[in-house]
């Protein structure tokens, strides 16, 4: 039996819950029975968000399958080469693979964004505060808190320093984001996902677009001294396992500062561009350097859409 199968079998093996855990469950069930039949689950209020990303050939994402895939697709990128994007040269006619690679410094400032315009969220309220669009963990404060937690630092001190570096109040730390997604309920749809990549996030990273066999097409491309703007689309209608017909991509790369705005999703390209137009960007005084294993960090797959 190969290792992956063996591990899958072992991790999936039936187990018994320890007595305290089972007892806790029973107590929860009792509470539900008392509450439940008298009152149906509530239908409004705070949204419990489910963040789901694409179900793109699950096996593709295992390390071995992914490595094999990359090898098969003959993706070769030259580190440090000033190259914003290129088509993979393998079978571009039937299975084009768009590769984006950004030449950025290894260390740089941290950037965050605020949406200025967003399409109405699916509940139709248009209220950004209660729509559930924003995930708590995707703002500046959430990221800092998590970093503090993971590194065993004092959270208050980290937030205080961050606020000072960014020139913001503690409250304002919650109003700037590095990632936000429109995740309606538990549907798994992602009409749009906005993300900002600071240089340290972007360093050594290459985006693979359309890697599942979707037909990728660049819709528009504009470059000036400051910005490279790219709009692309991937058509998956011929793929039965994608669960979506099309994903669109808007990339805006600020060459001088070395950050990238990425707005992707199942919304149409005009809507995504309008979202991108409205984004405000905060350049903080805080800096970060790339850290990590370049071999592991080198590729990321962009396929928002359906979980």
């Amino acid at each position: 039996m190969d290792l992956d199968r063996e591990l899958t079998a072992l991790f999936k093996e039936d187990i018994s819950l320890p007595e305290p855990v089972q007892a806790g469950l029973e107590r929860s069930y009792d509470k539900l029975r008392h509450r439940g039949n008298a009152k149906a689950p509530r239908r409004s209020g705070k949204t419990v968000r489910v963040l789901l990303l694409a179900a793109v050939l699950a096996s593709l994402f295992s390390i071995t399958a992914f490595a094999a895939y990359l090898s098969r697709m003959n993706v070769q990128l030259n580190q440090g080469e000033r190259q914003i994007y290129r088509w993979d040269d393998h079978d571009t006619a039937s299975n084009p693979l768009l590769v984006l690679h950004f030449d950025v410094p290894e260390e740089g400032n941290l950037y965050y964004f605020q949406p200025g315009w967003l399409p109405l969220p699916p509940d139709g309220t248009g209220n950004l505060d209660s729509s559930g669009i924003y995930s708590a963990w995707s703002n500046l404060k959430g990221r800092a808190s998590r970093t503090a937690f993971e590194e065993g630092l004092d959270e208050d001190a980290v937030l205080e320093r961050l606020a000072a570096d960014a020139g913001l109040s503690q409250e304002e730390l919650e109003q700037w984001y590095w990632l936000c997604e429109n995740v309606p309920g538990g549907s798994g749809d992602i009409p749009y996902q906005i993300r900002i990549y600071s240089p340290a996030d972007l360093y050594g990273l290459s985006f693979l677009v359309g890697q599942t066999g979707g037909a990728v097409e660049i819709l528009s491309e504009e470059t000036d001294e400051q910005w490279t703007c790219l709009t692309a689309t991937a058509d998956y209608s011929s793929l039965s396992n994608m669960g979506m017909d099309r994903v669109n991509y808007v990339f805006r790369f600020q060459q001088e500062e070395g950050y990238l705005l990425s707005v992707t999703g199942t919304e149409d390209p005009e809507t995504l561009n309008k979202i991108a137009d409205g984004l405000k960007v905060l350049k903080t005084g805080a800096t970060a350097a790339f850290s990590g294993d370049l071999n592991q960090q080198n590729y990321t797959i962009l396929e928002p859409g359906r979980g």
């Binding site: 290792l3 992956d4 591990l7 899958t8 072992l10 991790f11 999936k12 093996e13 039936d14 187990i15 018994s16 819950l17 320890p18 007595e19 305290p20 007892a23 806790g24 469950l25 107590r27 929860s28 069930y29 539900l32 029975r33 439940g36 009152k39 149906a40 689950p41 509530r42 239908r43 949204t47 419990v48 968000r49 489910v50 963040l51 789901l52 990303l53 694409a54 179900a55 793109v56 699950a58 593709l60 994402f61 295992s62 390390i63 992914f66 963990w137 937690f149 065993g152 309606p184 309920g185 538990g186 549907s187 798994g188 990590g292 294993d293 592991q296 960090q297 990321t300 396929e303 979980g307």
Partner: protein, 178 residues
Amino acid sequence: MKPAAEEGCPTEDLLAKAQAGDAEAFIRLIEQHKQSLYKVARGFFTEPMDIEDAVSETVLSCWEYLSQLRKPTYFKTWLIRVLINHCIDVRRRRERLVSMDKLPEVPVQNPDPGNLHFESLVNCLPPDYRPVLILFYGEGFSVREIAVLLHLPTGTVSSRLKRGRERLAAVLKGKECI
């Protein structure tokens, strides 16, 4: 991710009943998934009390917000997502009470003999690797989905998965741990 947990089971019916306020239907759903809940929470904690807290809070909050789940096929993913958020909350609460890095790693006390494989594997992994390996091998999530669930960069998940896999390969060859 393919919503594997719902294969061939009447989740949709149970979910519809639960969303209409039938607590027994919801309890049956949770019973179907309680092993997954335990395993994922075990990836975060060694103390049964912490696991119990996270699982119980997950059950109650999922019941409260069940109506917001639109597609039954994503029930398990949603459940796991809520659980992970509760695990992170519980961990933060514990962190405020005592500096966790000063505590020694305590294996689950007297694990059920039937759980030895699972518990042994988990105990052989560094704490940061555990949720990743459990979600990948035990629950069938992809690297990218795990990255989203755990709020980690994809590269970090891949790296932990690779190293965790190597660690367990050595374990299974009898070279380390257990």
